[in-house]
């Protein structure tokens, strides 16, 4: 129980000996070219299989499976709900109307202002991970981490060159508004089918991204402030994230102009930066960052939505003892061979081959380097988002 509570913010730590941890750390921290246990390059992702629209009872769904056997299913359901203005906002509007009626018409635009943007609470996310209670720290932390960039991203289709087509004014929140009195409520239910072998964030984020891309809402027939009335033809339904015809030949069919954010897990080991870490790699990481990105609709380059640090589980591991300090090997020849060196990145004295978890935090320069690798043109973020675009939706 305690072990699980400790590991609550990170994944379950694999039971690796200090010698194994030290071996992993050394090979991952080789300058320039880290050697990963599964032979990937530092920016390479694990192969995955993905499919969408697998659950007929939902508005949109997706399944993603990694090659190591971890699988996640996401179902998105939408409900129409009456917009309840807060007591304060409501009375504010009433007061305003009263004041306007009293003092003559000085602009009715103010009263309508509140309705055009949606509320973040209309998107609900629930994550279920086997072995964890729903109020444990890990599911709560993960769902906040994924919900935050989703509702935060107010990239919009400010009415730029190509008109309103494919744009989403006010981001996802704005898309959920039907009219002043009604709105959509979105339930995103994330189910991890397997044991959390590695930190499940990238898997869950990719699955949620695909499910949201596949989500369709019935076509609205009513207009303006009427009670909403929908077209019952499911084929006429519109995508939650609207699409436009593609101009690029590489991707068939239509593409999304606005896309939901993706959260990437990035770790740093000594001077190296490694993407999509497996469980063993996270266990020796110096820093773990979750970085959420999406495409900026205006400039068609990536933008940053949120960064969170994740507690690296290496701090929970047991440090090993160098031979020179070990009573059992004292006086043996091996003790003389090991010599202490100063690690350039940490400034701490280290004996090579002896595992010592990293203390302290992360330098600002390292954070900047990690974010730059994600955001830059032709970088990892673009590769991931383009790869996801290739998944046939609907």
């Amino acid at each position: 129980m305690t072990a699980q509570r400790q590991a609550s913010s990170a994944s379950q730590i694999p039971h690796l000996s200090p010698a194994e941890l030290s071996y992993l750390y050394t090979s991952l921290s080789l300058p320039g070219t880290p050697i990963r246990p599964d032979g990937r390059s530092p920016t390479q992702f694990r192969p995955l299989s993905a499919e969408t629209d697998i659950l007929p009872g939902t508005n949109g769904s997706a399944r993603v499976g990694f090659a190591d056997g971890t699988q996640a299913i996401v179902g998105v359901k939408a409900e129409v709900e009456r917009t309840v203005l807060g007591v304060q906002a409501l009375s504010q509007a009433e007061q305003q109307e009263y004041a306007e009626g009293n003092e003559g018409a000085d602009g009715g635009a103010g009263a309508k202002q509140g309705s055009t943007s949606g509320q973040g609470s209309w998107v609900q996310m629930c994550i279920e991970i086997p072995g964890f209670r729903d109020d444990d720290a890990l599911p709560v932390f993960l769902s906040e981490m994924m919900r935050e960039p989703l509702v935060e991203s107010v990239s919009g289709g400010e009415k730029d060159g190509d008109g309103d087509e494919g744009g989403m004014v006010g981001g996802l929140k704005g898309r959920l508004v039907i009219n002043r009195r009604w709105h959509w409520r979105l339930y995103i239910d994330v189910l991890l089918l397997s044991q959390p072998l590695s930190y499940p964030l990238p898997l869950l984020s990719l699955t949620t991204h695909l499910a949201l891309l596949a989500t369709k809402l019935p076509k609205l027939k009513s207009k303006g402030e009427e009670d909403p009335f929908f077209d019952d033809d499911w084929n006429a339904a519109e995508y939650l994230y609207p699409r436009v015809r593609t101009t690029r030949a590489s991707i068939p069919g239509s593409i999304h102009k606005v896309r939901p954010p993706v959260t990437l897990l990035v770790i740093s080991v000594a001077e190296n930066i490694v993407f999509d870490p497996s469980r063993e790699e996270i266990a020796v990481a110096d820093t773990v960052l979750a970085i959420s990105i999406t495409y900026d609709t205006g400039s068609n380059c990536l933008k940053l939505l949120s960064i969170r640090t994740v507690d690296p589980p290496s701090r929970l591991t047991q440090p090993s003892v160098p031979n020179s300090e070990n009573v059992a090997t004292l006086g043996s020849t091996a003790a003389a061979e090991a010599s202490a060196i100063i690690n350039p990145s940490t400034g701490e004295e280290e004996v090579s081959g002896v595992w010592r978890p990293r203390r302290g935090g992360v330098k600002r320069a390292t954070i900047a380097r990690m974010v730059k690798m994600v955001l830059e043109k032709g970088g990892v973020g673009e590769e991931v988002l383009d790869g996801l675009e290739g998944v046939e939706v609907g």
């Binding site: 129980m1 906040e144 205006g298 933008k303 960064i307």
Partner: protein, 323 residues
């Protein structure tokens, strides 16, 4: 999960009745508190350690009232306070042996527990921790675990409990909930939690790499003075969300000045449209992080002073015993 063991008050808030005829539309518009500080000026912090004798370490932290709140206190016009300021108490229990049933741990096992008092925010909080409080607890744990030298206490536990007596507002109370409805106040609360917990840990004499301090910075868009066009986005340190029309993005850091390292970083919001500090829009997040670090440096000076007081108190106690 609902709380069935206690008789709870209504979940929604109530408001004293106000006659609409007594309210002029102009007065409600001007009531929003205005920031009186410079963009890089922090609120004053009151931080005192050792207030709770039964805990091995404790601290109490309070932010200075905003100018509008003290004006409203002196000359009350309405029953609703215009803004709130953070007040919280932190206790540290331990290091203490882990329970017999717990598995072996080579390190100090850190448990953080952040709880809002039911009366802390404008909307009442229940007795059971909700998602946002758990989330804060995880953030705080990440911030502190990097600082504590945990391998010096094997098989021991350390409980850090924070009670928030008054929380920051997420927005001005008169704004509709959709204007900028992210939990911006939570970020200020987290920064306060980090600073207070750091003082309490030092008060409990637990070995740390450095005193870690929390700081907040945000990119804000304000109404210009004549109430017309919103101004250009600006970077502000230690923002009070009630004082601003909208926050584009905000950042909290837990920062160790001696090592120039960040143990916890929480940045959210979309400021890709605003170029703050740099010409390159894609780099505005760096300015934001640097701003938060500057705010944390400011908090660190208060923290160092509080810890010095705590050490002096201990030295006084020891000389008292010896004589």
């Amino acid at each position: 999960m609902t709380d069935r063991r206690r008789i709870n008050g209504p979940s929604g808030g109530t408001r004293p009745p106000v006659f609409a005829s007594s309210i002029k539309s102009t007065t409600t518009a001007t009531e929003r508190p205005q920031r009186q500080r410079q963009p890089n000026e922090l609120r004053k912090i009151f931080l005192k350690t050792g207030l709770i004798p039964s805990a091995s370490g404790s601290s109490y932290l309070e932010f200075e009232h905003s100018a509008s709140l003290s004006a409203a206190r002196a000359l009350p016009k309405s029953l609703i306070p215009p803004s709130s300021s953070l007040k919280l108490a932190c206790t540290v229990h331990g290091p203490k042996p882990l329970p017999r049933s717990a598995t072996f741990s080579p390190n100090l096992v850190l448990t953080t527990h952040v709880k809002y008092a039911p009366f802390a925010a404008r909307k009442r909080k229940g007795h059971i921790r909700d998602a946002s409080e758990r989330d804060l607890g995880v953030h705080l744990e990440t911030a502190l675990r990097g600082v504590i030298v945990a391998e010096r206490w094997p098989k021991s536990g350390l409980d850090i409990t924070i009670t928030i007596l008054e929380a920051e507002d997420d927005r001005w109370w008169g704004d509709a909930p959709d204007s900028h409805d992210a939990a911006w106040g939570m970020m200020n609360v987290l920064a306060g939690c980090i600073t207070a917990a750091s003082a309490a840990i030092a008060d409990a004499r637990i070995d740390c790499l450095d005193l870690v301090a929390g700081g907040v910075a945000a990119v804000v868009v304000d109404e210009s003075v004549d109430g017309g066009e919103p101004s250009t986005p600006r970077l502000m340190l230690d923002t009070d969300p009630a004082e601003h029309r909208s926050l584009l993005s905000a950042c909290v850091v837990a920062y160790m000045p001696a090592r120039d390292e960040i143990t916890e970083l929480w940045l959210k919001g979309d400021n890709s449209k605003a170029s703050v500090g740099t010409d390159d829009k894609s780099l505005s997040y760096e300015t934001l992080i640097d701003g938060a670090v500057d705010a944390a440096r400011g908090a660190h000076s208060v923290l160092a002073e509080a810890v010095r007081e705590s050490a002096e108190r201990l030295a006084g106690l020891e000389t008292g015993y010896s004589t």
